[in-house]
Symmetry: C2
Subunit: 382 residues, 2 copies
């Protein structure tokens, strides 16, 4: 019994921590509740309920399905749903008109055949990557609306009125979602993407520097080491953030202008920067593997290379940090050229040191790669 109680309290603490770490999540939950409460007003107030004629159900459904964490996600789903419902409705009413003119035997065949063909074609179009990334949700709704309207036309008499009602209630649902998402503590996918990129760049710089530092200063205190090893793992975040970057960049494209972001903010640049950073992170991973490998270099050699290597890594992480802060402030940094120059000098110095007493340098190789990659970042960062 005690173990159950401790488990429950542990679970409760986990939930509390989750809320405390990112209060936006809690706010999101309250927003969902708020949007649903707003939409249920259509049931409670007589004039509103009569106005939509009992189709208020669709407004509730729209709110539940559309409401997403970011404004971009909400707009993406809302716009998709609106366009898909409209086009599918118009098409289905056309099919309905043709089917109802043809005799009793042909009618169900025409209806089913049209549903079969259109649903298959729409499903096939989902496999095309560009359509998949932008209109996936819209196609589901297109199939749904078309089948519902085309098939139920067989039994329901006032089809056009039904379609009209459905459209207007969906519009109401979408409007409520947009208002709540944008006006009440909005979470912008663009902001998230921006922050993620800046944070990842800082983490990468920290772990690059920490990795090389650790290798050369084995004699530091243990607790200091633990702090740095946590920092050192930062590059793993960079490795795993591809999926979230892609989806954020995709959603951010739907967002209107807000804050420092214009409507046509170049979000695709962020994914390019992300790819360059991931490239750096691969190198850090390989570097890390070498440092922890069994083959150890003689101490004298290590001593010999230590200064040059430390300088390269610290210059390199300075460049990365400057890139990060220039992305953060969205201004071209004035000292970046100077820093890149310094880094190139440091790399040159390392080359020279290497040539003198021809030596096995167990991590030498990764650095020029990082250099070129960070140059690449510098170029992409406007």
């Amino acid at each position: 019994f005690v173990s159950v109680a401790s488990r429950v309290s542990g679970f409760g603490r986990m939930l509390w921590d989750m809320g405390a770490n990112d209060p936006r999540k809690v706010i999101h939950c309250v927003k969902v509740g708020l949007a649903l409460a707003l939409v249920s007003l259509f049931y409670y107030t007589r004039p509103l309920y009569d106005g939509v004629g009992g189709a208020a159900m669709w407004a509730v459904m729209t709110v539940v399905v559309i409401f997403e964490f970011t404004v971009g996600g909400c707009l993406y789903k809302g716009v998709n749903r609106a366009i898909a419902t409209l086009t599918a409705g118009v098409l289905a009413i056309g099919v309905h008109w043709i089917a109802s003119k043809s005799g009793d035997t042909a009618e169900p065949i025409i209806r089913s055949a049209s549903v079969f063909i259109l649903a298959s074609a729409a499903t096939f179009s989902r496999f095309i990557p560009t359509i998949k990334s932008r209109f996936d949700y819209g196609i589901t709704i297109f199939i749904l609306t078309f089948s519902l309207v085309a098939v139920s036309g067989y039994r329901v008499d006032k089809l056009i009125q039904l379609a009209e009602q459905r459209l207007s209630t969906i519009a109401i649902g979408i409007a409520i979602c947009f208002l709540v998402a944008i006006l009440v503590f909005p979470v912008w996918a663009g902001d998230d993407l921006h922050l993620l990129t800046v944070r990842n760049m800082d983490k990468l710089a920290d772990s690059l520097e920490g990795c090389v530092d650790e290798y050369f200063n084995k004699d530091q205190a243990v607790n200091e080491k633990e702090v740095s090893s946590q920092k050192l793992q930062g590059y793993k975040c960079v490795l795993n953030s591809k999926a979230s970057e892609d989806s954020l960049a995709n959603l951010a494209q739907w967002e209107p202008a807000h804050g420092r972001f214009n409507f046509r903010h170049p979000y695709s640049q962020y994914t390019k920067i992300g790819a360059a950073m991931r490239y750096c992170a691969y190198c850090v991973e390989a570097l890390n593997g070498c440092i922890n490998s069994d083959i150890q270099v003689p101490e004298a050699l290590k001593e010999h290379l230590s200064d040059a290597c430390l300088r390269v890594s610290s210059e390199c992480s300075k460049v990365l940090k400057d890139c990060g802060s220039s992305i953060k402030s969205m201004q071209r940094s004035r000292i970046i050229d100077f820093l890149v120059g310094e880094m190139k000098d440091a790399v040159q110095e390392l080359h020279d040191t290497l040539k003198r007493p021809s030596a096995t340098a167990p991590f030498m190789e990764a650095l020029p790669v990082i250099t070129t990659a960070s140059l690449l970042i510098e170029i992409t960062a406007r």
Copy 2:
């Protein structure tokens, strides 16, 4: 006008290629059409339509929303939808009973408050990672059903009958989906995952071998080089397949026993193997970076190391290929121990060669990492 025609024909060819490359996609589209046509029978046949009392709409919706490419995806959504509808329906009827007993003023307040609280709580639970990966869809449906039933209870009289009808039509929709998905050319997520892992392992072996080969034989014919450079890019697939591996492993857990896969097939092992392969791919990426870097080693040194390096890379890729084929046949390979021993010998030889004329080895470092990583793979592969 000509450019439009050529664009359209190009688009048509792309679609045709897509279908020809993976006929399962075309079959999937036909299956969606088939399931919808089956469900529309409920509208056309009088006894069936009267049986579900006009709620056939829900069956159509269920089919459209649930039908997924893989059997696992279909089962995941179907089971989620069924459980969520059932629990939310029972809860909502409880709330409806309480609300209808309390006076006219309190009724809407109780209904809205319950929707607000439950929707917020359910939305919050979506942020918990384990629930997110397994029951995300179920929670959406839970919120949807609960709000619909609890709120519409204010206007609709025969609420229990409504809930019953909805439940039975959803059950019909789910049953049709399962039957079509499993009986007509099923696409198993488990099979896909298995194939993806085997294919990635082969690609990794090819690109590792190709990479080292290219470095040492710069004088080969150009067209041969192009073939190998295409092979060489194979590791990039490994780098980018994390997301699809995770989702396939997640869906595969829902699948029943089929073919050589039991119900509790250890699908999570595949993600572990995938992680180990990605670790190898990082090394190949770094290796590739060094090989294409500016600093070139003197030819004599290259000559000196060439044999040992080539042997290590070929042994290593042999081990990877053997792992791949043993995963494919699901049997422990008998020669794997021998191959790993060979590989270790080759690495030892490379060490010896390196020690003799203390030399800068620009890719030496990556090999021990690959060795340990592939050992890791060997262990995970039963």
